[in-house]
Amino acid sequence: MSDGHRLTVVLLGLLLAATVLHLIRQRRLREELAWVWLAWGVGAPLLAMWPTPLMAVVRWTGLASGGVMLTLLAVGALSGVGLLLSVRVSAQAQQIQALCQEVALLRQRQEAQEDTRGGASGAQRTG
């Protein structure tokens, strides 16, 4: 990996980490969902600066280069994030459904109570 490549990876990683931290600070991203992005934002520059562990894995797996390895890691990380988000969205859909059902039941109870009160006051007026 040339110095230019290394610098690009470091800058992109730091930009990613800064963006993620900024989003967390603004409460637009929760820490529990941010860790994969942070790990990537910090891990990629570290591997670019000190590629020894990466190269050891590259030799061990027989891959062509560190770049291919990083690409594979990126695809894996993105797939992981996608799956994590799908799980979260499914859980939230279930929660939203339960909430809506409760809203429907509460609304009906409130209307029934209002009808009873209306009927009682109507009866008082006519009585």
Binding site: Q94, Q97, Q101, A104
Partner: protein, 255 residues
Amino acid sequence: MGAPLGDPAGSPSTDRHTRPDERELVIIPALNEARALPPVLRELRTLHPELDVCVVDDGSRDETAHLARAQGAIVLSHPFNLGYGAALQTGYRYAVRQGYERVVTMDGDGQHPPEEVSRLLEVLRRGEVHVALGSRFLGRGDYQPPVLRAVGMRLFAAIARAATGQAITDPTTGFQALSAEVLAYYLHDFYPHDYPDVEVLIRLHRAGFRFKEVPVRMLPGDPRRSMHRGLRPVYYVYKNAVSIPMALLSSGRAP
């Protein structure tokens, strides 16, 4: 985990086979049914004044909820559309909290004639099963589905038969009578928000609940308003291809 059924021999020999404290509820999920629903509700009230009727308005944009209320129905309104299964489940929640003994589910588009309701309830009142499934293919009425749908129905009926060992001809029927034990079982998360069909029958079977089909007459619905129009059959097949094996792998017990 199927709850024990009432002793059929111990059932009173009245016409309705119900004790005065046993309340029964009709649940009708409805989405934009302002035109078809009021006649159904009127007929239900005329034929079955003893039954409470609950309309679950699944986010309609028309006057469905207002018209149902005007007909004396209990109305549960979702803030937005959640799906047919979710609408049914909202009705089940209501029935369980209000302590109803039995429930009939039917569509609000006029496909399920109110005069058939008692045929389903009678089977449940006799204590034979936990669920009575209204089947349009057992010789009552002359319902003929479109060719493609008929093929799909036969396929899913065959799967349901193989998985449960029971004679099932109409696995997609929404015209059913359910006991209180089944309602409580249906409140769990496994109950699908969209199509509670074969998968649910398999889970019922594995949980030890007993069900059987009852011949009922059904009328053809408006194909433009069908739950199976457009690309939905593709999703339906995909969804079942995933959910049926999951149901077969489940213990049947509610999670």
